[in-house]
Symmetry: C2
């Protein structure tokens, strides 16, 4: 396979929101890059089945094509930028691109989360590289932080707010006391949430990004299927309010810890102290906290989606490949998934954390004692109690909320204790349990 020494001609496959922003850099903002680089980059193909966005943007129609294979057969093309999204077709295009000796740049988190390991191995076999800054955190250069800026660190933990749709919804619930349904509707109205928001609100999109970030941070092969995922769609407003009274903000977090016996990954709505920088991240913004053994806490903040921001990340990758630095990192570092081992992902039941527990109970003396007794028998130590008067709903059948935060406890133990609590005769509904993330020790 022959790859030319100075990769400069680019094929763009997929010209939707991000794709047209990328094309814009070449066709309308050429001066910015030209001023900064001694390289003459050239967009040679804009390929999509539907080129209506490209036409509307007024791009040079001579670049348009419906068939990606024309780019793969063109020896001048050294890079393929895949921005069609989805898994099956994108995988096929990327595999064919690699086998045609083209470097690949992609924003496709779902594909990398599911098939990254094999795609990286294939790229190595054909002496090309895969760059994917745009796959996580939009315009935030978080992938580079992991393979370059923080490279000398052993990463101990990583917490990410990596889905802007969920963060927008949670911010509306937290700051404006709007219900989940109402907040989702508003997110849909602003175009932030899809008509079918499942991929976002279920936590799956966050888990895709977690798989990519954790692979690099911990130098591990990640089995995506092993990541426990919990979405935001069952969150109740009252828990956000009680959490706030206790000093916490709820965020959908992608969580990764390095532990002695493996790594622990999960995506879940979690309470985080109002003093933690992640608690301040509001609206559609994303942020990723990375704890290195030398740096301690570092955080990276910015817009996690949108055409322009994501295109900025795609362009950084295109420029790295054109400069040849992407290839060096890809070849000389051991952190890429295909070179990594697979350590045990600790099952979520083995995760030790603090917990927020809410149970709804009848408004009678002795209720708290019964609950505390069960927790005590499971050796779960109580950190604080917030017993509210019946106020939110004047429905005595629903009972009154008893809110408890625990000290460190094993997730499995808490689950078992709550099974006991839930069958007490004084309990009027299923208990709610939300993890509390304390500041990671540096």
């Amino acid at each position: 396979v022959k790859t030319n020494q100075q990769p400069r001609s680019i094929a763009l496959i997929g010209c939707g929101t991000v794709g047209s922003s990328v094309a814009n850099f070449f066709l309308k903002q050429k001066r910015i890059i030209h001023d900064k680089l001694n390289l003459d980059l050239r967009l040679k193909y804009i390929i999509d089945l539907d080129l209506s966005k490209a036409k509307k943007a007024g791009f040079n129609q001579e670049l348009f094509n419906h068939d990606y294979r024309i780019a793969l057969e063109d020896d001048e093309i050294s890079m393929v930028v895949e921005l069609i999204g989805g898994v099956k077709k994108a995988k096929q295009i990327i595999e064919e691109s690699i086998m045609a000796g083209k470097h690949v740049i992609t924003a496709n988190k779902a594909l990398l989360a599911h098939h990254g390991n094999e795609l990286f191995a294939l790229a190595r076999k054909y002496n090309v590289c895969i760059s994917f800054e745009a796959s996580c955190g939009g315009g935030i250069p978080i992938i580079r932080a992991l393979y370059d800026g923080l490279i000398a660190n052993q990463i101990d933990a990583l917490f990410g707010i990596v889905n802007g749709t969920c963060n927008y919804i949670l911010t509306a619930m937290t700051q404006e006391a709007k219900s989940y349904a109402q907040s989702l509707k508003e997110a849909q109205a602003t175009g932030l949430a899809e008509l079918d928001p499942t991929l976002d609100v279920s936590g799956t999109d966050s888990a895709h990004k977690l798989a990519i970030l954790a692979a690099l941070a911990f130098k591990q092969k990640i089995n995506f299927e092993s990541i426990p995922i919990q979405g935001i769609d069952t969150l109740e407003l009252c828990d956000i309010e009680y959490g706030s009274e206790l000093g916490y903000v709820v965020k959908l977090l992608a969580i990764a810890y390095r532990l002695d016996n493996g790594i622990s990954l999960c995506v879940q709505p979690a309470f985080i102290s109002k003093r933690h920088p992640l608690a301040w991240v509001s609206g559609p913004f994303n942020a990723i906290s990375v704890y290195g053994h030398a740096t301690g806490h570092t955080m990276y903040y910015g817009r996690g989606a949108g055409g322009q921001a994501t295109a900025s990340a795609v362009m950084a990758d295109i420029i790295s490949v054109a400069l040849g630095t992407a290839q060096i990192y890809f070849n000389k570092l051991n952190i890429w998934p295909d070179k990594s081992v697979q350590k045990q992902n600790l099952p979520v039941k083995d995760i030790v954390s603090r917990f927020y527990i809410r149970v709804m109970a009848v408004d009678k003396p002795g209720v708290l004692a019964k609950i505390a007794d069960i927790l005590g028998r499971y050796k779960i130590s109580i950190s604080s109690v917030l017993q509210k008067e019946r106020a939110l709903q004047n429905d005595s059948k629903q009972g009154v909320p008893v809110v408890i935060t625990t000290h460190q406890a094993l997730s499995e133990t808490v689950s078992k204790a709550l099974e006991q609590v839930d069958v007490l005769d004084v309990i009027t509904g299923k208990s709610v349990c939300i993890g509390i993330i304390d500041e990671h020790p540096e």
Copy 2:
């Protein structure tokens, strides 16, 4: 000048707090880097006039030397890491290192702010590179964000909290209502502030970092002497309190704007909205907000000082030079100061901003009208007024505070108006004026 193809032998010059943390990576934490890299890096010399820290750390004494020239004469040495600080001697060492064909890695912000332009030109002449991630923001990979992750962006503005000592003092004043003197004393007690804190509290250290960051962000030669600098040592607690009531937090900010007719740089204590992420940065942490035309707002947060965090940045540079990527960026990008033009730094009087103004006036009717009349004559539009009852001090001679925030106004105009205000017979002391930084439009 001959430089070997795979630079792997390193001379460390300066073994203080940061230097010993760097040596630690090679001598005690070798496995972390070894696991991530296919490179055998070797620390060959630890050079300092005073090697007591190195001895205490138990480093291999065979590496110790008092004379840096032994490293420059050693053909195996491809990189020199300068960590002695200060300007004159460090400049000499770096110049000799460059002329001996060694790549240079430095954390020396004062040196780069004053002599960066000529040192970069010299390095280019001798075909070596200078890397300086550790010069700004400690462990935060902000230099890389500017030359790599954000490279496709035209940077519109940059606001930085880049001095941990000042931020620690301001946090104590803001969150605990302690006076400047008391907060400084505490910072000194914890080792965060020097016995002579002038370099930090005067804003000079922040200006050094601003000069380095702005040069890269805006691709400009910066004349350090032209940066207006204002420190935190004259800040009064009452202004922090009144600002807080108006929704602002005071931060020592390194501020850079790109404007049509040049760039505008300054270091000053400024009020920033509590909704802005920089307002949340507390204690010794640093953070830099960078506004790119494509990314919009991105922010980078972490520990701005300390041996371990700074050593993480030094190590990232050492690894980049060993990989060869640092040299590529240095050679192929146009953003380095020696390749940049010098545009006009706009004088601070021409800066348009919103302002917080406090005047102390006698407690009589008509005072506000007189002040408002003067502002009106200068066409300075008032945004809000906070007139406090005499409470903080029960000293009628001091008068009562009148706090005004303005809409956008020219700095020079506000100064002229305040000169008029200060000579009113109802005024009991010199007015205080603090800039307000609004969220930069994206």
